[in-house]
Amino acid sequence: MSALARSRRHRFAPMLLLAFALLVVGGAYTALAPSSAQADALDDADAGKGEALFIANCATCHGPGAVGTDLAPSLVGVGPAAVHFQVTTGRMPMQASGPQAEAKPPQFSEDEALDMAAYIATLGPGPAIPTEEQVDPALGSAPNGMLLFRVNCAMCHNAVGAGGALTEGKYAPSLMNSSPTIIYEAMLTGPQSMPGFNDATLTPDEKRDIIAFLMEQRGTNPGGLSLGSLGPVSEGVWVFVVGLGALIGCAVWIGSRSS
C-alpha cells in the first residue's frame, strides 16, 4: 500500500493509469457490446480466398480492387449483405447484360460467397449479413409485418409477394421461395431497381415482422386454383381463354348436326 502510495506521483503513473483505463473500457465493450452479425457470419470466412475468387470471377466488370468500371459499379462499402444476396441467389456473376440481373442457380457455395463477402468487407464498412435471430420468423409479428408490407413492399411485390412488372423489362421478383436471410438482405441493401430500407425506415424488428408475415401467408391457400395469386390479370386471362373457349365450344356442339 505504501509502495503504491509512494509511486503514485511517478512520472509514468498517468500513462499506466490511462493504459489500465483503456484496457478496462475496451474489455468491457468487447464483453458487453452486441456482437455484430458480420462477425458471426464471417467468423470462418477467409478474405484472402475471397480476394482470389473475386479476381478470378468478378474483377472483369467490377475492376481490380472492386473500384468499379464503366460496366459495373464500385463495391467498396456495399457490405457483406449485398455480396451474400447477389452471389447466393445466383444474380452475380451476371450471365448476360439485360434489363436486370436475374436469379439463377448460384455458381458459388455458401462458404465461397462468405469468403467474397469477407473480402468486400475489408474494402469498406457496409451492411452486415443478418444473424439467425434477426430473421427468425417465429420471433416476428406477422400482423404488424402485413401493415408494413402493404405500405412499403406490396406495390411492387404484390399483396402476397408474388412479384410484378416494372418498366422496360424490369420486374419485382416473387418472394414465395426466398429465404428469410435473402429477404432481409434485399430490404437492407436495395439491390438493383429496389430502393433500400435502412434501419431507421424499417427497424431490424420491423424487417423481421415483414419476414414473419411473408412466411405466415405462404401456406394459406384457401383452395381452388390460385393461378399464381396475380389477381385480375391471370384470372382475366383464364376467364377469357378457358371460360369463353368452353362456352364457344358448347355453342358449336349444340349447333352441330348429329351424325
Binding site: L147, L148, V151, N152, M155, C156, G164, L166, T167, K170, A172, G190, Q192, S193, M194, P195, G196, F197, N198, A200, T201, E206, T220, P222, G223, G224, W253, I254, S256, R257, S258, S259
Partner: protein
C-alpha cells in the same frame, strides 16, 4: 321466315359481261334433309339412348356425391378446419356443377340424336289487325276523352299534370341527396400538410405549433433528415394523422414519397430551390392521372411508376411525366429541417393533388 321457292328464277342477267355475277342471288331454300344414322339404324339409336342415360346417371351420382361430401366434410363451427372447408367447397361445387351440366348435356344430346329433326316451316301471321279494328280503337279513345271532359275542365288538366310531375320527387330527391351531402370542393385544394397559421398545433406533431412534421407510414414516427439515405425510400404521412378525424380521407390526399438523390443530378427550378433539403425531395404519392398511389420507385433510374396505367415520373426532374397518360407532374411538398434534424412541411402543396376535376384550372 318464308322459305318458299323464289319466283325470280330465270331472270339472270350478266353484269358487265366478264364478271359473271348475277344481279341478285336466289334464295337457295333448305338443303335436302339428311337423315341421321340413328333414324335408320335401330342399333345406333339404342346406343345413343344408352349414352344419354349414362350422362343422366353421371349427373345423378354427382348430385348424390355433392350431398355426401357436405356430410363427410363438416364446416360447422365445432368441426371446421381449413382442410374441411377446402374439400367441402370442392366436392359440393363439383357435385352441383356436374349434376347441372349432366342434365344440360344429356338434354342437348337427346335433342340432337334421338328427337325428330325434320325441318318444319311455319309462316308468320300478318302483323296488322286491319282497318276495321283501327277505326274501332280510335273510336274508343275518342269516346273516353269525351266522357272525361278534359277539354272543358282545364283545372283538372293542370292538377293531374302537377300530380304526375311531383310524384317521382320523393324517390329522386333522396337519391340525389344521398350522393353526398358535402358539395364543398375547396377541400380538394388543401391537405393535412397545411400549416396551422395560428400556432395551435400540438408541438409534438407541429414544428413551433405550426408546421406539420413528416412521419413514417404506418409507424407514425418522425423522420430525421440524416435517416433518409441515398437509394432509400420512405413512405410518409403527416405526423399524428392516424389519431385525427377522417383519417383515411385525409391520408388519401396527404401521402408522400420521400427520396434522397445526389444533389448534383437534381434539377430544381429556382423558385423551388428551398423546397428540398440536401437532395431530399418529397412528392405527392397520388397519380395526377386518376389518383392511384404512385409508389413503384426504381432507385437506379430515379423513376416512380404508377401501377394502374404505367405513368412514369422522374424524381430528379421535378417529378415530371416521362411516360404514360398522366398530364401533370406530381405536386411537390416543400420540406425543411428543425433544429433537432427532423423534417417538417414548410407549406401545403401549391396545387391540388391527384387527378383533374371540374373546377381545376389546369
Amino acid at each position: 321466315m318464308s322459305i318458299e321457292k323464289s319466283s325470280h328464277s330465270g331472270e339472270h342477267r350478266e353484269l358487265g359481261g366478264s364478271a359473271g355475277l348475277p344481279e341478285r342471288f336466289e334464295n337457295p331454300g333448305l338443303e335436302p334433309h339428311r337423315h341421321r344414322l340413328a333414324d335408320s339404324d335401330p342399333k345406333r339409336a339404342k346406343r345413343s339412348e344408352r349414352q344419354i342415360a349414362l350422362i343422366f346417371t353421371i349427373s345423378i351420382l354427382a348430385s348424390i356425391a355433392g350431398v355426401v361430401g357436405y356430410a363427410v366434410f363438416p364446416v360447422d363451427i365445432d368441426r371446421a378446419s381449413v382442410l374441411n372447408v377446402r374439400w367441402s367447397t370442392l366436392v359440393v361445387g363439383l357435385g352441383l356443377g356436374i349434376g347441372m351440366l349432366g342434365i344440360g348435356v344429356a338434354a342437348v344430346q337427346w335433342a340432337r340424336a334421338l328427337m325428330d329433326d325434320g325441318e318444319k316451316i311455319e309462316d308468320r301471321h300478318p302483323m296488322s289487325a286491319g282497318p276495321a279494328a283501327h277505326q274501332q280503337s280510335l273510336e274508343i279513345l275518342r269516346q273516353g276523352a269525351d266522357e272525361a271532359n278534359i277539354a272543358r275542365r282545364p283545372v283538372l288538366k293542370g292538377a293531374i299534370a302537377g300530380a304526375l310531375a311531383l310524384a317521382p320527387l320523393p324517390f329522386l330527391v333522396p337519391l340525389i341527396g344521398n350522393l353526398g351531402a358535402d358539395w364543398d370542393i375547396s377541400k380538394f385544394k388543401r391537405t393535412a400538410w397545411a400549416p396551422r397559421e395560428d400556432g395551435s398545433g400540438d408541438p409534438e406533431r407541429f414544428f413551433e405549433g405550426t408546421y406539420r412534421y413528416l412521419a413514417r407510414d404506418p409507424q407514425d414516427t418522425k423522420i430525421r433528415a440524416a435517416d433518409v439515405t441515398n437509394g432509400n425510400i420512405v413512405h410518409v404521412i403527416p405526423h399524428g394523422l392516424p389519431e385525427e378525424e377522417h383519417y383515411l380521407e385525409e391520408k388519401a390526399k396527404a401521402v408522400v414519397l420521400l427520396v434522397r438523390v445526389d444533389p448534383s443530378i437534381l434539377k430544381e427550378a429556382p423558385e423551388r430551390a428551398d423546397w428540398s433539403y440536401d437532395g431530399i425531395v418529397a412528392y405527392s404519392k397520388i397519380c395526377t392521372h386518376v389518383g392511384c398511389p404512385v409508389a413503384l420507385y426504381e432507385q437506379q433510374t430515379h423513376h416512380v411508376l404508377c401501377p394502374c396505367h404505367q405513368s412514369t415520373f422522374d424524381i430528379t426532374d421535378a417529378a415530371k411525366v416521362v411516360f404514360g397518360p398522366a398530364k401533370r407532374a406530381l405536386p411537390q411538398l416543400p420540406i425543411k429541417v428543425d433544429p433537432e434534424g427532423y423534417l417538417y412541411a414548410a407549406a401545403d402543396f401549391d396545387e391540388p393533388v391527384g387527378p383533374s376535376y371540374w373546377q381545376r384550372e389546369r
